[in-house]
């Protein structure tokens, strides 16, 4: 395949996909629309159904409900190879009794492509993943990262419409992981192929994906670009899973323009002009990222009103350009606030009793409790 050829990427659409194993629900009514050429990460804790969902899209599992469309056509009755689904397994699944070259050419041999065409494409793929020098080696002679590249070449050799990767970096060590993420991203961009990656590592998802689908217990919590997930989490789970968040239970009162949040014992009070996604008065959970908060020693603001969350400084950790404060509230729960070093205000010490406040304009969230 000529890399400069225009490649028509396909969209993927899931409608109400559900899958039951006996009594338990692994995937619960997932609706998802993936744009052509997009790299989407399926992110979530183990057991959330992300691998099941990937296998359903691949055609390895017959889902119990809902439908999958690739490029507009329903593919539920098609096996993986007819859907154009290229799968890279977690353990790479390279055929141990075949050389790298034979592995990469396997799909083409199975489809009875002409011998010289197979040779040409295999060479092309090996060059794409930079494994040309290893063509005559056996999988057992290769390192983890090398095996993964061969697995990728093998899958891409049959020109799938979709690329599906199941926890591709789980078995690699940290440094290699970064390199391979960049590598796969590069290849994906170059080929313009619609890609779905399953991962439990949010850093990985955040750095690689165009959009991330966060899953929890079979349910799709939010499907957005990484920054949106971070700044505007749609659910409490996303707020807590993606990045760190300080979570406080309490009550919301007031109206747009002037909301007031008080915690349960009533010792904390926050004033804020905007509240979302939940803006109704009533019990809520307040969620703020460490860098959205500030620490001050005065309870009373300039405007005369009291505002703040009383905390005690437990630890002060310098981390690069920031200072990380580990704090404890009156009820014993912990909080974390990050401030840039050298910002105005005194440097706090362990044992100081101070107040945490929301920085003006910071995107904090409220979720109905």
């Amino acid at each position: 395949m000529n890399r400069t050829e225009a490649r028509s990427a396909v969209a993927v659409r899931l409608d109400g996909v559900t899958h039951r194993y006996g009594d338990s629900l692994a995937v619960d009514g997932v609706d998802l629309e993936i744009a052509p050429g997009e790299l989407v990460a399926l992110l979530g804790p183990s057991g959330c159904g992300k691998t099941t969902l990937l296998r359903i899209v691949a055609g390895l599992i017959a889902q119990t409900g809902g439908s999958v469309r690739v490029g507009g056509e329903p593919v539920d009755r098609l096996p993986p190879n007819e859907r154009g689904a290229g799968i890279v397994f977690q353990n790479y699944a390279l055929f141990p009794h075949m050389t790298v070259r034979e592995n990469v050419g396997y799909g083409l041999r199975a489809r009875r492509v002409a011998r010289d065409e197979i040779a040409r494409r295999v060479d092309e793929m090996l060059e794409l993943v930079r494994m040309s020098a290893f063509a005559t080696r056996y999988p057992r002679e290769l390192s983890g990262g090398q095996q993964q590249r061969v697995a990728l070449a093998r899958t891409l050799a049959v020109r799938p419409r979709l690329l599906l990767l199941d926890e591709p970096f789980a078995a690699l060590d940290k440094n290699l992981r970064l390199d391979m993420q960049i590598e796969i991203r590069r290849i994906q961009r170059e080929l313009g192929i619609t890609t779905l990656i399953v991962t439990h590592d949010q850093e990985e998802a955040m750095s690689m994906a165009d959009r991330i689908a966060v899953m929890n217990a079979g349910v799709l919590e939010q499907f957005d670009a990484p920054e949106t997930l971070y700044d505007r989490p749609a659910t409490l789970f996303v707020a807590g899973f993606v990045g760190t968040a300080n979570l406080i239970k309490g009550r919301l009162a007031g109206a747009p323009g002037s909301f007031v949040f008080t915690d349960e014992p009533g010792t904390s009070r926050i004033e804020i002009p905007r509240a979302g996604p939940c803006s109704r008065s009533g019990p809520v959970v307040f969620a703020a990222r460490p860098e959205h908060l500030d620490l001050t020693q005065d309870l009373v603001r300039d405007n005369g009103r009291t505002e703040g969350i009383p905390v005690r400084v437990e630890m002060v950790l310098p981390l690069g350009p920031s200072l990380v404060y580990e704090l404890s509230r009156r009820d014993g729960s912990g909080m974390k606030v990050v401030v840039p070093r050298g910002h105005d205000g005194p440097r706090l010490q362990v044992g100081d009793q101070v107040f945490a406040r929301v920085r003006p304009g910071a995107p904090i969230s409220f979720f109905s409790a």
């Binding site: 109400g16 998802l32 055609g59 599992i61 017959a62 439908s67 329903p74 009755r77 096996p79 499907f223």
Partner: protein, 298 residues
């Protein structure tokens, strides 16, 4: 763009999805199944059928053969001797085989291949050859007698062959690999950390062996016992060549009644009794095995 809500397009009618089936078609098992039904199942049913007749012509049905078998003390002694032989051989193989299995498991890898081949060789060698070896060893001019005579411990060669002890010992040696192999498998599945933990807690080597290693190797002991018992009880060649005419066990009895005496219904009854005994014991041992699996795999 961002939420997980239902799209505005109508949900298409649900086609049942197909998935990927990896299993080979069931029909592949058909040829062997048909063969077994025709040439194993049917013959055994025929055996049972014939055993329920009173004469070779198969004219009258009845339990006469079984009554004849269980009514005669000679027959019962043959059955008893056979089952006892199985028991003795099993116990002896456990005694001799365990240390060998233990040695294998603790040996360095290079030695393990050699040991395994040494254990396998007797298994693959003809049973007639192995029995013959015992005839050579135990005969009047065999190595044991020669040794005893040379040492002056006896004046005349002992009659070692054709004794019950000889059959037991010979069978134990011949069936030894059948006990050792499952034991090795079982011992290799035992977590080596358990032994280390026991030793570091202060239990000596003997206590660790008796209270940790042996109980955890019970599945292997049971599997081996099953194989050894079933083989020992059916070991026609060894029983006859080493046991001689003096001792009769069920296999020879069956052969004699069928081929030499031409009493097919009675021979069939003997075969059925032997079969049922082995089946019962195999079932019992399997049942014990299933119970013990619970505690072995924590």
């Amino acid at each position: 763009m961002s939420t997980a809500q239902v799209a505005t397009l109508p949900v298409p009618p649900q086609l049942p999805a197909r998935g990927l089936r990896l299993e080979a078609p069931v029909s592949l098992a058909l040829p062997l199944a048909i063969f077994f039904v025709a040439f194993v199942l049917v013959p055994f049913m025929l055996l049972a059928f014939v055993s329920l007749h009173e004469d070779n012509g198969l004219k009258t049905m009845g339990f006469a053969q079984y009554i004849k078998f269980f009514g005669d003390s000679f027959n019962l002694s043959v059955l008893g001797d056979t089952l006892l032989l199985g028991l003795k051989v099993t116990l002896l193989t456990i005694l001799i085989g365990y240390p060998l299995a233990y040695l294998y498991v603790n040996a360095p890898a290079r030695w393990q291949t050699l040991l395994m081949l040494l254990i396998l060789l007797p298994l693959l060698t003809s049973s007639v050859v192995r029995t013959f070896a015992w005839v050579v060893i135990l005969g009047r001019q065999g190595i044991i007698n020669t040794l005893l005579l040379d040492l002056g411990w006896v004046d005349a060669p002992l009659k070692l062959l054709y004794t019950p002890g000889a059959v037991t010992v010979a069978l134990a040696q011949i069936e030894l690999p059948l006990m050792v192999l499952p034991l090795i498998t079982s011992l290799m599945n035992v977590d080596p950390n358990l032994r280390q933990a026991s030793l570091s807690l202060g239990a000596g080597h003997w206590r660790t062996f008796m209270q940790v290693t042996v109980p955890l190797s019970v599945p292997g002991l049971l599997a081996g016992s099953l194989l050894v018992f079933a083989s020992a009880v059916s070991a026609f060649v060894t029983q006859t060549l080493v046991g001689g005419g003096q001792q009769i066990f069920m296999p020879f009895y069956m052969y004699q009644q069928a081929i030499q005496a031409n009493e097919y219904p009675f021979a069939a009854a003997i075969a059925m009794v032997l079969l049922l005994c082995v089946l019962v014991i195999v079932t019992v041992i399997n049942a014990i095995g299933r119970r013990s699996k619970g505690f072995v795999h924590a």
